[in-house]
């Protein structure tokens, strides 16, 4: 538990939103875990290494230097541009469940002293899906990074583009991918951390365009979700056991590494210093 001592100050706030009660059953190994222990391990099962999904607040608490996070773009809200049936209700439910106005939180904070512009998607708001607001906030996070010459880090957790905004959601894929081009032109590092899950329209846009891409262990990562591939008739073809898992992504050369939650700060800070320090 050496890593725990190093990052000691962080873990106090690590897991505020655990389910009520004292115990949690690990979905990875069915072990019954003390919530208090789970807090100390950054919501990673101490027995099997299962990485529980984090809320945006837990992510902030775990990842950034204490009291350095400042949220921005809080003034953007989702309307119902297509008058899609029941969308308004889904938005309200998402707000209640996540405490957010939409699926992406943006801001800036320090990682081991490095100031970064950052976006975090929260699966609790409509599965982290990307509609107009999420797309706009991703782009603004990148633009903030360019304006202030900062690295940009995005934590992805998304089922893909949001159906309820139809073609407008599809356009967010092109819009966010285009913003990465501006990041490249500015010569600034663009870092993607894929968390569970990162699929479809998000995976097939900015998430796959990081200068470096790291995945948390166990994350589902891929182009087509199970339901979509079943619809397309490829659901029953034989698949490797680790299909769309980080080891599959790694062995096919699609990500740079699988990084345990406890090591993320170290790895990200190392890449930032590689990218930002020394002669330009």
């Amino acid at each position: 538990m050496a890593w725990f001592n190093i990052e000691n100050k962080k873990v106090k706030n690590a897991a505020q939103n655990l389910p009520d009660g004292i115990w949690t059953k690990c979905p990875g190994c069915n072990e019954i875990l003390f919530n208090k222990d789970l807090e100390k391990t950054l919501k990673v099962c101490p027995k099997c290494g299962y990485h529980f999904k984090l809320t945006f607040q837990e992510r902030i608490n775990i990842f950034f230097d204490e009291n350095t996070w400042e949220e921005n773009n809080t003034n953007l809200e989702t309307g119902n541009p297509l008058d899609f049936p029941e969308y308004d209700i889904k938005i309200k439910k998402g707000i209640l469940k996540s405490g957010l106005k939409d699926s992406v939180v943006t801001g800036h904070g320090k990682v081991r002293g490095h100031l970064v512009s950052c976006a975090i998607s929260d699966f609790n708001f409509m599965g982290g899906s990307m509609g107009s607001v999420a797309g706009e906030k991703i782009v603004r996070t990148i633009e903030y990074g360019i304006e202030n010459k900062l690295p940009v880090i995005i934590f992805t957790a998304s089922g893909g583009a949001r159906m309820q905004e139809g073609i407008l959601s599809l356009m967010q894929m092109a819009k966010t991918s285009g913003a990465v081009l501006k990041m490249n032109e500015a010569g600034l590092p663009f870092i993607i951390i894929m968390t569970d899950p990162t699929t479809a329209g998000v995976h097939a846009s900015y998430a796959s365009l990081g200068d470096v891409i790291f995945a948390e262990p166990g994350a589902l990562i891929g182009f087509a979700g199970a339901r979509v591939s079943a619809q397309a008739g490829v659901g029953n073809t034989s698949k490797p056991d680790d299909f769309q898992k980080p080891s599959f992504q790694l062995s096919h050369g699609l990500i740079d590494g699988i990084v345990h939650r406890k090591d993320l700060r170290k790895v990200v800070a190392k890449f930032i210093s590689f990218a930002m320090e020394g002669e330009k």
Binding site: I167, F243, F248
Partner: protein, 320 residues
């Protein structure tokens, strides 16, 4: 909304046309003058078509966009291009038959061409992978687009895909990365890019070749973030509610134009492109030439900037 389904309506039209053919044949065989009756029937057919087609809903357009007789990319290419030469392969893995790339002339303009290709019969459908391109297809497309940029030639893209391929192989070779990179790299192209949805504009598979200065849709094509069947299956656990989903998703050309996502709608022949592919091809050709005329005077930097700004501003949200 119409009471009669498009399929039933097309049967009625087919019966009328059989009658028209019979009359023509009779005139030939017997020398009897049937011209008056012929004219009447033809007028009746055209009136029926006009009436029915003035009242199509989003689902009717989905049926038309996927119509088994609908002209595909190469049907138009034959009509629109002179001296078309296909260019194959992504130089990395394979040649994708669902993505046709090449160079050719449209009248006096030399252009690079990218188009998704479906197959007509079972064998051809398999050969074209049902119009679903794999990573190598998107990478081939980008290779040819960079080729066009190198030689300062405009790029024309035809979109017609149900979706990108989502097989295990496609995942292994990074279908997401291929699509994402295309969207990013297309933003930087310093030549005119024109994209036309000619049939199905299926999600990421479509936008992966549609980051363009001018984006148009054929009148009865569709452009959607998810197939209506998939949307219905996820939202209502009932794929048979595809018609409702098509309406809710606003997948038709008119809605896409209203939402500002496309610039123009290209007219099809009366009753859908399959009733007169030549006429529809002529409209497409005219549109491409008009766009090239409009875009060619701009500098490369202007073209890239305008394209970027256009996509940068897509989306509707509330800002307090």
């Amino acid at each position: 909304m119409t009471n009669k389904t498009l399929t039933d309506f097309e049967k009625q039209i087919a019966e009328l046309e059989k009658l028209i053919d019979n009359l023509k044949q009779k005139a030939l065989d017997t020398g009897v003058n049937t011209s008056e009756a012929l004219e009447e029937l033809q007028k009746k057919r055209d009136d029926l078509l006009k009436e029915f087609f003035s009242n199509l809903d989003a689902w009717d357009n989905a049926i038309l966009a996927r119509h088994q007789k609908r002209p595909y990319t190469l049907d138009y290419v034959r009509n629109i291009f002179d001296e078309f030469i296909e260019l194959h392969g992504d130089r990395l893995f394979a040649d994708d038959h669902a993505m046709v790339c090449g160079i050719g002339n449209i009248e006096d303009k030399q252009v690079a061409f990218i188009g998704q290709q479906k197959g007509r019969d079972l064998k051809e459908r398999q050969y074209r992978n049902f119009g679903s391109a794999k990573p190598e297809g998107y990478r081939k497309a980008m290779r040819v687009m960079h080729l066009a940029e190198k030689f300062h030639k405009p790029i024309v893209c035809f979109v017609d895909t149900p979706a990108a391929d989502c097989s295990v192989g496609a995942e292994e070779r990074g279908i997401s990365e291929a699509i994402a990179r295309n969207m990013m790299d297309m933003m930087s192209l310093k030549v005119p890019v024109i994209a036309i949805v000619i049939g199905e504009g299926g999600s990421g598979g479509a936008i992966g070749i549609a980051v363009a200065n001018k984006v148009a849709m054929l009148e009865h094509s569709i452009y959607s973030v998810i197939p209506p069947e998939g949307c219905a299956a996820i939202l209502w656990r009932d794929p048979s509610k595809a018609k409702e989903a098509a309406t809710a998703l606003k997948i038709n050309a008119e809605s896409a134009k209203e939402l500002g996502v496309i610039d123009d709608i290209i007219k099809e022949s009366l009753g859908g492109a399959h009733r007169n592919a030549d006429e529809t091809a002529e409209n497409i050709k005219e549109y491409i030439l008009k766009c090239i005329e409009e875009l060619s005077p701009k500098t490369g930097d202007e073209l890239a900037k305008e394209r970027y700004d256009k996509f940068r501003n897509f989306g509707k949200y509330i800002e307090n």
